[in-house]
């Protein structure tokens, strides 16, 4: 099978590459091994929240103090603002409605009740302008009886510090009795499926209205709209008070929906999405990757002019660690990382972990290196790149999306 471009990895980075290339008329395929970070999406994309532990209010300014090895620096700070606009519009064209600006972080409320700086926030969720101000004084935090993945007391505690008086209440509905009876089924996606059917919405809204009569705002877990994207909108219409949704324990319902919509956009543009397939290796000739072999395609090789590796970090198995080495499991590409495992980790869980910075080595055009040589048609994008600790910086989605768009520009040149 022959494509213009093949992307390895179906996460945020791979889908961004695929959509952008397909929008430019390229015949693309994405090979995805399974779930990705979008499935535990918090509802927001971060660009840059912190530098050296200090809050960043303008990410574009904050980037200037990042090290030369940082993916943003390597993309070129002069390109970032254009790429952030590009990213927002790509998401909007996919039907995902986000708000936010690259030159000014806004805030979202976390499930711990803490304000966190971010770049783009999905319209399901509420954006706040200030770190220490919640616009309402009286809130009700509602949870579904028996739903363990939403921690109302943590939120109440956080809101108290923001001088908000919050009450906690539970909602029981017969629609959820069946799933609640099974000890491991009362999870966010199953609740969402009940709402997707449509018949729970009215009764639920009625109960919420009854429980929120004396408050100014309603806080709920983000368990609405898995396949049916109108549920959140309908709830907003039917619930009398403003609605603030907060992420629950993964999987994330808005995350799964976003993943489906991005994938749908890619497929609508003519892209081919190979789901549940693993790339096992490739044929190289003269520093070019000719084709790749996948698990499901057996001896049918997938050929392309350019390939993009967007296979993610450790938890997506883009990088693999054993007791004595780090490696890139598909092609055996060069890795930026310490060879002694004693140096991979810090003994304090919450410290900056060295392994978080590890990734595939690339040249200045983001092409992968193998034995020190650039592979001229194998590009690398997203968190498999390394060179940053996206968790500490609050830069995970930004790095994924912007390096992907930058890589596509290299390919289209």
């Amino acid at each position: 099978m022959k494509f213009d471009n093949i992307i390895i990895g179906g996460g945020l980075s791979g889908l961004t590459c695929g959509i952008k290339l397909a929008e430019q008329g390229k015949k693309c395929a994405i090979v995805s091994s399974g779930q990705s970070a979008i499935h535990f999406f918090s509802g927001s994309f971060d660009l840059l929240g912190k530098v050296d532990g200090e809050d960043v209010s303008n990410p574009l300014e904050g980037m200037k103090s990042l090290s030369e090895k940082h993916p943003y620096q390597r993309v070129g700070l002069e390109n970032i603002e254009r790429l952030t606009d590009d990213a927002l519009h790509l998401l909007i064209r996919a039907g995902l409605s986000f708000t936010g600006q690259a030159n000014r972080n806004h805030f979202v409320l976390t499930p711990m009740g803490i304000m966190k700086p971010t770049w783009l926030t999905l319209d399901d969720f509420t954006s706040f302008d200030h770190k220490d101000h919640f616009p309402w004084n009286k809130a009700v935090i509602l949870n579904f009886s028996g739903f363990l993945d939403f921690h109302t007391l943590f939120i109440k505690d956080g809101l108290k510090k923001l001088e908000v008086d919050a009450q906690i209440k539970n909602i029981s509905m017969k629609q959820f009795e069946a799933i609640r009876k099974n000890p491991s089924e009362m999870r966010s996606t199953n609740i969402a499926k009940e709402f997707d059917k449509g018949n729970a919405i009215d009764e639920f809204a009625e109960k919420v209205n009854l429980l929120s009569e004396t408050t100014e705002v309603v806080i709920l877990p983000a368990v609405f709209g898995l396949f049916n994207r109108n549920v959140v909108e309908k709830l907003n219409q039917k619930i009398n008070k403003p609605l603030v949704l907060l992420p629950a324990i993964p999987p994330s319902v808005p995350g799964v929906r976003s993943q489906i919509m991005l994938r749908q956009r890619f497929q609508d543009l003519g892209g081919t999405y190979f789901m549940g397939d693993n790339v096992e290796g490739g044929t190289f000739d003269n520093n070019r990757l000719l084709d790749i072999k996948t698990n499901n395609h057996d001896d049918i090789k997938l050929e392309a002019d350019q390939f993009i590796l967007a296979s993610g970090s450790f938890y997506s198995k883009g990088i693999v660690a054993t007791h004595n080495k780090l490696y890139e499991p598909i092609f055996g590409l060069d890795i930026e990382g310490d060879s002694d495992r004693n140096n991979w980790l810090d003994e304090k869980f919450f410290n900056d972990q060295p392994y978080m910075h590890y990734g595939v080595k690339t040249d200045d055009k983001f092409r992968a290196l193998m034995d020190g040589q650039s592979i001229e048609n194998l590009y690398v994008a997203g968190s498999v790149l390394g060179g940053a600790n996206p968790l500490k910086e609050g830069s995970g989605a930004g790095i994924s999306v912007l390096t992907s768009l930058h890589t596509v520009e290299q390919i289209l040149k």
Binding site: S42, M112, K116, L148, G396
Partner: protein
Amino acid sequence: MNKNKSKEYDVIIIGGGATGAGTARDCAMRGLSVLLVERHDFATGATGRNHGLLHSGARYAVTDHESASECIKENMILRRIANHCVEENNGLFLTLPEDDITFQSQFVEACSSAGISTEIIDPELVRRMEPSVNPDLIGAVQVPDGSVDPFRLTMSNALDAKIHGADLLTQHEVTGFVREQDRLCGVELFNHQKKEKVNYYGKVVVNAGGIWGHHIANLAGVNINMFPAKGSLLIFGHRVNKMVLNRCRKPANADILVPGDTICLIGTTSERIPYDQIDNMFVSKEDVDVLIREGVKLSPSLATTRILRAYAGVRPLVAADNDPSGRSISRGIVLLDHKERDGLEGFITITGGKLMTYRLMAEEATDLICKKLSVDKKCETADKSLPGSEKSDLSLENASQKIYSSSSIAQKSAQDRHGSLAHKVSNGGSNDDSLVCECEGVSIGEVKYAINELHVNNLIDLRRRTRVGMGTCQGELCACRAAGLLCDSLEEAGKAKDDLANFLQERWKGMSPIAWGDTINEVQFTSWIYEGIYGLKPENN
């Protein structure tokens, strides 16, 4: 001295390990008024940091006859009195090509003289009985080894002490003693939860502090030289073996593989460490490498089995000679009457020994306490079952109910963990049946039971009582669910958040020495959830 005599206990026991809890049980059953104090939680010292091996004694048969005989006797007692803490797996002593096969006959003979039953089994049969075994073995001897859950065992002893009237204080650290001339008459404690000092008075004070007993004795002005020997172990993600696998040779590094609950364990190393390092139990890269290298010789599949955690404990051996490894020192019981030894009345130390002989140690200590208090009552701890382990109903009706009942995973797991006390696991409605921890089948009801009745102060305690967070995901999702429930009970959300952060740090301590493969993948995911999405911080949440 201003002495508050409002309540004077007959006996105050320092240390919430198996020995302390066992002594509290024995004393309380003999009618004494008992206070047990523990600086952290039950089974946090050496008790909870070993193999969980129900020794047959065979391991010591050749080198230490006395320990071997004690072990087999206690082994048989624990099968009776603590059957809900014990798995009767049996054990094999394997001779590998690099071992001397002539040791086998010496081993079998020493076992018989210690009263340990043995059966020599043909290697071909062993390969079928235990498919995980190293297929190159040239000899094998079966012995009555088993597995024991030290957390459950200690808690059952503590519970029984409580049932017999004992008071239990965890999170209370001994900072000094109340003295009258040459007599101890009480303990000065620091309550870590309330951050305040408190004194309690007793006629006899028992030092059952394990390796920390050295320091406790010092506080009383008495010198006991402990021999801190660190032993490291690895926990694998599932059970590769059905039976305990040992090497048929003189005890050495990493030669015991024990199956227990959902996992199996390889250990241990043995390394002398300075006394000031006993609270710093890290497992080095070298320890891990030795454990894997030697473990693979017992069961080759360990090379590809996921490792969940590494941990280390300190053997509380009393120093005798200058043995650099600490292995040839007897595991024997040391009972010191400080009146005889040091002229200090009202103070005794019970130490040495091992998990297997905790009950015997408790019996010997209690005999001495009773003698001091002129109480004439016989020990019954070998005959009466621990709570949770009462004789099961063998009627046909009950048996068929067990077989055909449609109890949930959570109910079955609770039955395994709490034995006949499982009915206490609250079943107040369908909500209580929901799973908090999917790896280990822990329900809301079980968490509530542990919080209400089993002295749980934080998530780490909860893990010891219920196995929350002990499974494959090491607390990835269940930690937050359990923290939410604990928060409901404690009504202190800020503290519960810090507790959650502590729990993650504590899990990381065990994962970091073996953080590769799926472990590093999982921990990266955990970091993204708690730090990335939740915004949890290490402290002051």
